[in-house]
Amino acid sequence: MPQHGDSDSRSAVDILIASDRVPANARPDLLTEDDIWALLEEVKDPEVPAVSVVELGIVRAAHWDGKELSVDVTPTYSGCPATELIEELIAEALRAAGFRDPKIKQVLTPAWTTDWITDEGKEKLRAFGIAPPEGSSSKMSLLGEPEVIACPHCGSKDTERVSEFGSTACKALYRCKECLEPFDYFKCI
């Protein structure tokens, strides 16, 4: 069991509350929009902690006029249960940087597409064991067969789809016939 040292006698609840407070010495007025994007880069997707909400294309815009900060976010799926948590994580990160009342706005238009996942984000997904979306969403045919999906573990293209849906709405389940490992595929939408 961990011992409570004298160095930090705060309870977990205190720490949680403290993380929600604006630090006294913060100077958000000195920050630029670039700095804000850098802060947002630090906010990770709760389901896929390897990639940030910026790399996933969930953050659409950030407006900072020195007084008011607003951030536009878009859900990946209509019913994505992580949407509210992501909004809260973004707000928390911004408050920790000194922004007192960041406005997080949900926008539905234009609808999120996997085309917005950055190349870097796709590489990180692959390294995390999730095959990134293949191709462009606009080229998908309604009843057509999906493209060949490469295994994120061994790179083999000899894979088969096990299920149209995986552990979350945004993924499908595949299996590699070469290295026999199952893997998630980030569906192209």
Partner: protein, 254 residues
């Protein structure tokens, strides 16, 4: 009927159909025939409930009587529900579950596709999001219909039975009423004739590939869901779905 009244009614129909089918699918949680199918069904349900929330939120703003999306979903009774009868039909065997999904998905896909060009921007935005999901649902359910229809002797027999059982509820999907016509004329909702044509075209195509026989176009059709006249199933769905909110109204912590 004014356009404003029709719009509220139309939004509730979209929301209620998504909500009820989502709830129906959730009944299979823990009981689906295979783990992969269970994940798929629950994800489809999640998409539908998410879409329902978007429609309810917009409806609540227009109705503007203090009720929010949750109250519209959990505090209205069966006669106030506007979902299509198809969506409330029981799961039965997997052929019926997938057949119901397929007939609805075709309707849903073409409806949403048209709504992306709605003159109402809020509707167009919600539809653009939902269309991506519905496209995926349709791809999946049509593959199941083909696999079961063109499968073994037994799977074919049961899939054909499912088509026969469900056919009587398909008319409502593509038969317009005054609300639908007002929405179409305002450029908000889909053109009913086009919707019917598209629906029939795709259903016939998939059923043919599945070696299944569709019902007659002039068969007797059950209707009324859009006006709050439901089959006996809806009351039971709502009893389960709304229990908590009815038992503890306005609770702020669950």
């Amino acid at each position: 009927m004014t356009q404003a009244e029709a719009l509220k009614e139309y939004l509730l129909r979209l929301a209620d159909s998504d909500m009820i089918l989502g709830q129906r699918l959730c009944e299979l949680c823990g009981k689906a025939p295979a783990l992969e199918e269970e994940m798929a069904l629950m994800n489809v349900a999640l998409d539908l409930v998410g879409q329902a929330r978007n429609w309810y939120e917009y409806a609540a703003e227009l109705i503007n009587d203090g009720r929010d999306a949750d109250k519209l979903a959990f505090r209205r009774d069966a006669h106030e529900y506007r979902n299509l009868l198809m969506t409330e039909q029981p799961n039965e065997d997997y052929a019926v579950t997938m057949g119901r999904q397929f007939f609805f998905d075709v309707y849903h896909y073409f409806t949403l596709k048209s709504l992306t060009e709605s003159s109402d921007e809020r509707i167009a935005g919600i539809a653009a999001k939902a269309l991506k999901e519905a496209t995926y649902h349709l791809r999946r359910s049509s593959e199941w219909v083909k696999r079961l229809g063109d499968g073994t002797e037994e799977s074919h027999r049961r899939m054909q039975e499912a088509v026969d059982i469900l056919w009587r509820f398909t008319g409502e999907l593509i038969t317009p009423d005054d609300t639908d016509r007002v929405m179409a004329e305002a450029g908000i909702g889909p053109d009913p004739d086009q919707l019917a044509k598209d629906w029939r075209g795709m259903v016939n195509e998939v059923l043919t590939q599945a070696t299944l026989t569709p019902g007659a176009e002039d068969a007797w059709m059950y209707m009324g869901g859009k006006h709050g006249e439901h089959t006996e199933h809806l009351g039971f769905i709502l009893a389960e779905m709304q229990f908590l909110q009815r038992a503890y109204p306005d609770a702020t912590t669950w």
